[in-house]
């Protein structure tokens, strides 16, 4: 009988779910709202539908991300640091440095040859340097988020954006727009500024190749180019960078089950009920 493992990553802006047997069976991405617990149910339900599985068919569920404790049906929780390391290591066996550019924060993780975490750094409290920074700027220049990266690559003369504060940078961009600076130059400048901030954080670790960038920021080609230029290294990106945390969570669940089998220890598993919970 096939065993299935689910990972659910409740991030600050997006909730992701992955169902796994030997490979990925289904994955779902949905927005995280204020009602995280209800949304976790919905995303899980959608993943089960795509995999054509019943909830009872899932052997083990691991949740991660900021909202990990708000997933009532998860059997265990891990931080996104551990889950990203596990997920990326699975996709890139030679990875040593992982940079996760999330909606509200950035994390850099250093792993050793065995895939174990040696060190990590996270920014906190300030959205500068995170995906939110790009969202705000995209809004300010009136360019859809998915076009920002490509457009910035057309720049021949990136603008200087000196402010690292999201709000002040937004004002700086507005002033530059008024002065007639091309949007592509502004966006390139924003990516340089962002890459600079990310590098300052990442360089607190001893950066080693391979470097893998994941999270929503990894979908932005302009940012990746600026980051690669500033780090002076080639950057690898997963095919679907949004789900690496959820993938890692599912893989950790699989490991837990295998270890329990090996040691003949019982598993603590929650009742498989996908009920809707109101928290507001």
């Amino acid at each position: 009988m096939t065993s299935y493992f689910a990972g659910i990553d409740v991030g600050s802006t997006i909730t992701k779910a992955v169902i796994l047997d030997k490979g990925i069976v289904a994955s779902v991405i949905g927005p995280t709202g204020p009602e995280q617990r209800r949304l976790a149910n919905r995303v899980m339900e959608e993943a089960l539908n795509r995999a054509t599985l019943s909830f009872q068919a899932i052997t083990y569920i691991v949740s991660t991300g900021y909202g990990r404790i708000n997933v009532p049906f998860a059997d265990k929780q891990f931080t996104e640091i551990t889950c990203h390391a596990k997920g990326i290591r699975n996709l890139f066996p030679k990875a040593k440095t992982i940079i996760d550019i999330g909606g509200q924060d950035i994390k850099a993780i250093r792993i050793d040859a065995a895939g174990k975490i040696i060190d990590f750094v996270m920014n906190d409290k300030c959205a500068a340097g995170s995906g939110r920074f790009i969202e705000v700027i995209a809004d300010a220049v009136g360019v859809p988020l998915d076009k920002v990266g490509g457009l910035s690559l057309q720049s021949k003369n990136p603008a200087k954006i000196s402010n690292i504060c999201t709000i002040w940078a937004q004002q700086e961009v507005a002033a530059s727009l008024a002065q007639g600076v091309p949007v592509s130059d502004l966006l390139a400048g924003v990516h340089h500024s962002l890459a600079d901030r990310i590098c300052r954080l990442v360089n607190r670790l001893k950066v080693e190749e391979e470097i893998v960038v994941t999270g929503g920021g990894a979908k932005n080609k302009g940012l990746l180019k600026a980051l690669s230029d500033q780090l002076g290294n080639e950057i690898r990106v997963p095919e679907d960078p949004l789900i690496t945390g959820a993938l890692g969570a599912a893989l950790l669940g699989k490991e837990i089950v295998e270890k329990a089998k090996e040691n003949h220890t019982p598993l603590k598993i929650k009742e498989r009920i996908l009920e809707q919970i109101e928290i507001l």
């Binding site: 900021y66 931080t79 551990t82 065995a114 975490i117 040696i118 990590f120 906190d124 409290k125």
Partner: protein
């Protein structure tokens, strides 16, 4: 004027020892004592700072010290600093300055404006001083500026500044070649303080009493060393969370019998806990060192959070402002002032010789390495308080240097050729970021997320080592 609303009361931190639990009332009593002294008017009151080796002089002259950093810390711990910080900001002072100083200046300005304590002042408030003794030592530059700012609101209160330097570490120089000069200078500074206090109190220094108090301090130093050494036990009977309480007698009550007796009792309590096998946490899984940085006083419950994950803190470098006197080789002297100056120099140069023996090391790093080995440490936690630049600017450098020269964790990994190989890893470290008393710099969710990730790293190491 700034919104002067009080913040919500913080949750109480659970202590592992009864001694640590007794500190709150003790601090309250000495704050109240300063207010009583002010009301009675029999003793002179002096604002001053910790780590100046001058407590004995104050006590011998019957001058009541008001530890202004302590009062700011109390405001922070009670989550009641914001209204004083906002006061200081409204005076045009930047939030990025030392928030202890801002809190103190804001409080002083408000008290002087009202002519009485600000409403609901923490534990009755900070007594108006008769004098202010600042210290422009290299440890912390705001300490020579703070009282100058406060003097704007108290122009009648004189300031005396003492300068307490020490030789800086030079790998190719023996500090003993120059410390005679430093000693001469520090003795002059301390004698100057005595003369100033004599002038202010209209009393002469009783040198026999001073000698007794210096002797009491020395004995307290040795007792503290013996007591804190007990924390090497596994499981550790008392952690850094408690040590952030027991720092009070070390830093604010030195040269008192009460401080000595406190450590007699604490030592006894720790010995009893060790005999019963009682640890700070029920099942000790990880032993951590608080490797530097002043704590976020409003978030001391984070230590309980670490504890809930099986992490204990047997040792810290912060506020352990004593060192083994028998390792300092201090020149003999019968003059208590000269002894204070030697002790000061002995404390600050204690790690110099050891650091020279390890390539790439420095005294602060050497101290970390020694503590890691003596206390069987699995990971290092530091706190970067944004407003305390003097103390915190070197923390990341210390961690980097530590990682570079010290890799104590041996693990087996499967190499690229498929063979098992032994590699050495550095100790995991965690840097927490917020402030000493500015709560607006702190996010409990983010801090605890970092702690969770750090614990997972420690667990991964633990399993690897076991494997």
């Amino acid at each position: 004027m700034a919104d002067e609303q009080k913040e919500a009361k913080p949750k109480k931190r659970m202590t592992a020892t009864q001694a640590a639990a007794s500190i709150g009332p003790m601090v309250k009593e000495f704050i109240t004592g300063t207010l009583r002294a002010r009301a009675e008017g029999k003793q002179k009151i002096a604002y001053t700072f910790i780590v100046c080796h001058h407590e004995e002089i104050f006590r011998a002259m019957d001058v009541v010290p008001v530890w202004t950093e302590n009062f700011a810390g109390i405001c922070g711990a009670k989550r009641d600093a914001e209204r004083f910080l906002q006061r200081a900001e409204s005076l045009g002072l930047s939030r990025s300055l030392c928030t202890y100083a801002l809190c103190g200046i804001g409080f002083d300005q408000w008290r002087e404006e009202l002519g009485q304590m600000p409403p609901d002042a923490p534990w009755g408030g900070q007594a108006r001083p008769d004098m202010m003794i600042s210290s422009g030592q290299i440890l912390c530059d705001p300490r020579s500026k703070w009282y100058q700012a406060s003097q704007q609101f108290m122009p009648d209160v004189p300031i005396y500044n003492i300068d307490l330097p020490h030789p800086l570490f030079q790998r190719d120089q023996d500090h003993r070649e120059v410390w005679g000069y430093y000693h001469k200078y520090i003795v002059k500074q301390l004698r100057g303080l005595v003369a100033f206090l004599e002038e202010q109190t209209k009393k002469k220094m009783d040198y026999d009493r001073l000698r007794e108090l210096v002797n009491l301090s020395d004995r307290t130093w040795s007792l503290i060393e013996e007591t804190y050494d007990l924390r090497k036990a596994v499981p550790c009977p008392m952690g850094t969370g408690d040590a952030m309480n027991t720092m009070v007698p070390i830093n604010f009550m030195m040269a008192t019998q009460q401080a000595y007796d406190f450590f007699v009792n604490l030592k006894k309590e720790l010995e009893e806990k060790i005999a019963k096998g009682e640890g700070e946490v029920e099942k000790e899984k990880y032993r951590l060192m608080w490797g530097g940085g002043l704590p976020a006083w409003f978030a001391l419950t984070d230590f309980n959070y670490f504890n809930s994950k099986g992490a204990s803190f047997p040792v810290e470098t912060t506020y352990r402002m004593v060192a083994p006197l028998n390792q300092m080789n201090l020149p003999e002297t019968k003059d208590p002032i000269e002894h204070l100056a030697w002790r000061w120099l002995g404390y600050w140069t204690l790690w110099f010789d050891k650091a020279k023996k390890r390539p790439g090391s420095e005294p602060d790093v050497e101290r970390l390495i020694n503590r890691i080995e003596e206390y069987k440490i699995d990971g290092v936690v530091m706190h970067e308080a944004f407003s305390c630049r003097t103390w915190h600017v070197g923390l990341i450098w210390q961690l980097n240097q530590l990682a570079k020269i010290y890799k104590p964790i041996s693990v087996y990994v499967v190499g690229r050729d498929g063979k098992k190989e032994k590699v050495y890893r550095e100790l995991p470290s965690l840097i927490l970021e917020s402030d000493i008393i500015d709560i607006t710099s702190y996010s409990e969710v983010d801090t605890r997320n970092k702690i969770d990730a750090f614990i997972e790293t420690l667990e991964s190491n633990r399993l690897n080592k076991a494997a």
